[in-house]
Symmetry: C2
Subunit: 203 residues, 2 copies
């Protein structure tokens, strides 16, 4: 467990450094120096930057899959499930782990890691498309192209860690809630008449 | 003019290579070799990769600003203007110039280029937020937080070149139209009851 905690702390610190200054502009040596650990300690957990990147993607996929499982349990109709998935996922990636900034670095992964990522991503996208299809059937989601719907939703959501900062005036909770409500309007058969007017003042 | 055309051809080829295999995984030498031009010719237009990247961002900003100007001319209410901006911009970036894949590479820009990009991007985002504010006033757009609305729209839109391929079953025109209609539902006070069901079969 000690080992897991240490690995986790290193992973978080690395992600934070990558997000601030870019993956390619950050060296493992620099991360080790900033964390006050020896290079040997860092290399024990992550033999190279690509291994660290693969761990980041693994984490992002786990968070997404857990959010989806939770949403499936909690939601009533499929539109609610979709909404809950987005809210949980957003709260996790903005609050805990700003990992999505790295989601454009697939090219830097080793081939095997990239293959695995693409398979898992395709599987996740398939699950979410199915939610949209089920929502069209149960009447909670408008007739639409599920493939396009999922791409647009994930694009909006994956872009958020690029501009959201926990030091800004919006909390992760406010953001996740307001963004989800706004995106929900895009697909709901019963779109709300108004949205949160000032995210920073929302409950 | 000859000079402009040559620069343009080099820029397009470079962007295409960056998009396929990643900015950091592509060398100027490789681009020159693939294009069958001498390194000297390439270096004459773009002394280094960062200059090429800055040119890509310049282009993306020009396309966005031109799309906005055109939309302002053509649209009736502010919601229509916003919709037309998205459609024109999408058609341009997916059809002509898949530049947005690079939009996460700001870290690789020289400091001066990055500063300029951020200023221009802030200006553009300000203009689009104003469109949303005007739309709320003229009753075409729902009460909402304009800042969040613009971030979500641009996220969805900037993500598209990551997954859209001209070799797929959707044309740029079909995609731009369907994506815009779907995103429009998010903010319109008069959301349509159904959307295109299969983008690849839309007119």
């Amino acid at each position: 467990m000690q080992r897991e905690l240490k690995r986790e702390a290193l992973l978080r610190a690395a992600v934070s450094a990558f997000s601030r200054q870019g993956f390619h502009q950050t060296s493992l040596d620099e991360i080790a120096r900033k964390l006050g650990v020896t290079k040997a300690a860092l290399y024990y957990y992550f033999p190279n930057k690509n291994a660290l990147l693969a761990a980041c993607f693994d984490r992002a996929m786990s968070v997404a899959n857990e959010s989806l499982a939770q949403a499936r349990n909690e939601g009533g109709n499929s539109r609610e499930k979709l909404q809950l998935f987005l809210r949980h996922y957003l709260e996790a990636v903005t609050d805990e782990f700003g990992v999505s900034v790295l989601l454009t670095e697939e090219h830097s992964l080793d081939e095997q890691d990239r293959k695995k990522l693409f398979e898992e991503r395709d599987k996740l996208e398939g699950h979410i498309r199915n939610l949209v299809r089920e929502g069209i059937k149960d009447g909670s989601i408008v007739e639409c192209d599920p493939k396009l719907a999922v791409f647009l939703l994930l694009g909006a959501v994956n872009w958020i860690p690029k501009w959201f900062s926990q030091k800004g005036s919006w909390t992760s909770h406010q953001l996740a809630r307001a963004a989800t409500d706004m995106l929900d309007r895009m697909l709901s058969t019963n779109p709300c008449a108004e949205l949160v007017i000032d995210v920073g003042k929302a409950p």
